[in-house]
Symmetry: C2
């Protein structure tokens, strides 16, 4: 299989390197041939080519079986007046590859619960997936700037809502059969449409799945107060961005959370949900688990290698059980670096 | 002073009744004359007049010194196809009175921390205020619906941003002098404008206040991981809606959180941040503390009665110290009703 690696900026290169090491080990053990091609995106691409998503990168991604991405952005490129910003590369690749469904699973690991701000008794048994719409909404609507103000347009078509709700319902079928759709239907027209379409799609195509609606403000509370009650949560792009970062606190650290961005095509994009963390970049202390778990999602969703995906997840889980914590999970002295954490995963790989 | 009371729907009438009792007690004790006029808003107004904000209500609010509101909405009026919805009354009164700054203080009470999903050691010393922009953004931009989709426009003018940032900076001066401005400047044009304007206003007019910027997704995490680090948080309407409901979890219950909506004029609107809770309406078990604390904010911000405001806040604090918990704060048996909670506040009033 052809895998394009987009290290990006900040800690991106360090964590994707760790994930590739794990993928190579899996390939050796299970007799697969994975070919890795590294390409530019984000700030690194701007420096080299002037563009956040060079045409060559996009072309190679289109031809690949899967894409593994680190993170983009950093202070170097964050002047608001800059003509090109690293984040545009990320938004452009999501859009160009049609990756409308961003799956963000949250399943707190017992050993990492200590690092969560949430009380442990609320976290036991939490196992949810947020399905975030990723190629629509206010992220991609028209932006304007005048002398006196600015605007962003939030748009959704019926089709865009249908396909992501369908994806969420299919996923729920493989799990506990429960979908919560999140919107702000008491204020937004796009949300009223979202609610109508979600109700129709779930009701007519997925009679075996239960659908519930929540307002986004209430959801921001319930996610903390009763996280165990959720199975699949489906929502639009901006709400999903906020709620998944909030949900990451259930897992103790952003450094543990992978994501899969999927479309109708075969190629998927896999990335940790954390950012480029420029403050710790290059110091060998970044948490590689989220990138490694993203590699597991890649094996599962793009290559159909469920056993291999499970083996990686188990190895990470064992590394955590053994107390192999990076600085985001452990206090000062006991923390290990990126390399030691990666090696712990490799050791536990069956 | 003339106070208009807008009970609204669900538990609104019960909690505003409690708050008015407390205001009457304060008036007696401190020799003030408060005149209360009750008007319709929300679902109750739709039932009686067909409109969510009748002209008569608005007129009386304009002539009053302050407005105390309960909550609006409920299943009875929530058909998405209904021509008028209760929430429109709330949005219309905010807009018509020019109440662009919504102050939502969060200061967890030690006795209520047990009800919070957050670990207690993170909550000690938390004392923050969110200043939410309340009359702009995607709430009030143009909404469209076509055969194939829908849209909502998010708009901000420079002036709208300036005035709310100014309000936040003034507030910070009376506190710890620290403002965090929350946006999504890596994606939204309105957020880039927001960041520019906030930087300019704080830098040129408030050299004594420190300003920091946070992306809304990061803020959703930091609010839980290190809530003590925040003093004043200023943000646009939609982000403020989500973040304040999230922040309410720090306080253990939405039932403890008041809010003040202020404009350039004298009249302010005071309301609990909880909703109409139709499931428990009319049962005498609603938590009245948030409405009572909203009455305290009314005395402070619209009537300039700081001592009286402080007396109410202290009385609520003592009622909580004494373990007077409504069902949202206590498990089953030990919970008291709205009336007993209100009486506990009245007893502790100095
Ligand atoms: C970097 C940014 C544009 C991006 C987003 O908002 O989608 C990030 O926060 C994410 O969640 O992947
Ligand atoms: C009822 C609703 C329109 C309102 C809002 O979103 O502003 C409420 O959630 C609030 O926060 O006051």
């Amino acid at each position: 299989a052809e895998i394009v690696v987009l290290p990006g900026d900040g800690i991106g290169p360090e964590v994707t390197h760790a994930a590739v090491q794990v993928l190579r080990a899996v390939a050796r053990r299970h007799g697969h041939a994975f070919a890795f091609t590294q390409c530019l995106i984000g700030g690194a691409a701007i420096d080299a080519t002037g563009q956040a998503l060079p045409e060559d990168t996009l072309q190679r991604c289109r031809e690949a079986d899967a894409v593994l991405l680190g993170a983009v952005g950093g202070p170097k490129w964050s002047d608001p007046k800059a003509p090109v910003r690293p984040e545009q590369g990320l938004l452009a690749i999501r859009k160009a590859l049609g990756l409308y469904a961003n799956l963000r699973p949250v399943k707190p690991h017992p050993a990492a619960m200590g690092a969560s701000p949430i009380k442990p008794h609320l976290l036991t048994g939490v196992d949810l997936v947020v399905v975030r719409e990723l190629t629509g909404g206010v992220y991609f609507g028209q932006k304007t700037r005048t002398g006196s103000g600015a605007s962003d347009l939030c748009e959704y078509t019926i089709e865009e809502i249908e396909r992501v709700v369908r994806r969420a319902c299919h996923l729920a079928r493989t799990r506990r059969g429960h979908v919560v759709s999140v919107d702000k239907a008491n204020v937004l027209e796009t949300s009223r449409l979202w609610r109508e379409v979600a109700t129709r799609v779930a009701g007519s195509e997925f009679p075996d799945v239960t659908l519930e609606h929540q307002l986004v403000d209430s959801m921001a509370m319930h996610l903390l107060a009763r996280p165990r009650d959720y199975d699949v949560i489906v929502t639009e792009n901006m709400f999903g961005d906020i709620l998944t970062d909030e949900a990451s606190m259930l897992a103790g650290s952003l450094g543990l959370l992978p994501s899969a961005s999927l479309g109708e095509g075969r190629v998927g994009l896999y990335e940790p949900i954390h950012g480029s963390a420029p403050d710790i970049a290059g110091r060998g202390i970044a948490n590689p688990y989220a990138a490694i778990l993203s590699a597991a999602l890649l094996l599962r969703h793009s290559l159909g290698l469920e056993d291999e995906a499970g083996a990686i997840e188990l190895a990470v889980s064992h590394a955590l059980d053994a107390g192999t914590f990076t600085a985001d999970l452990a206090a000062g002295d006991t923390a290990v670096g990126t390399r030691a954490a990666t090696e712990a995963v490799l050791e536990h790989l069956l």
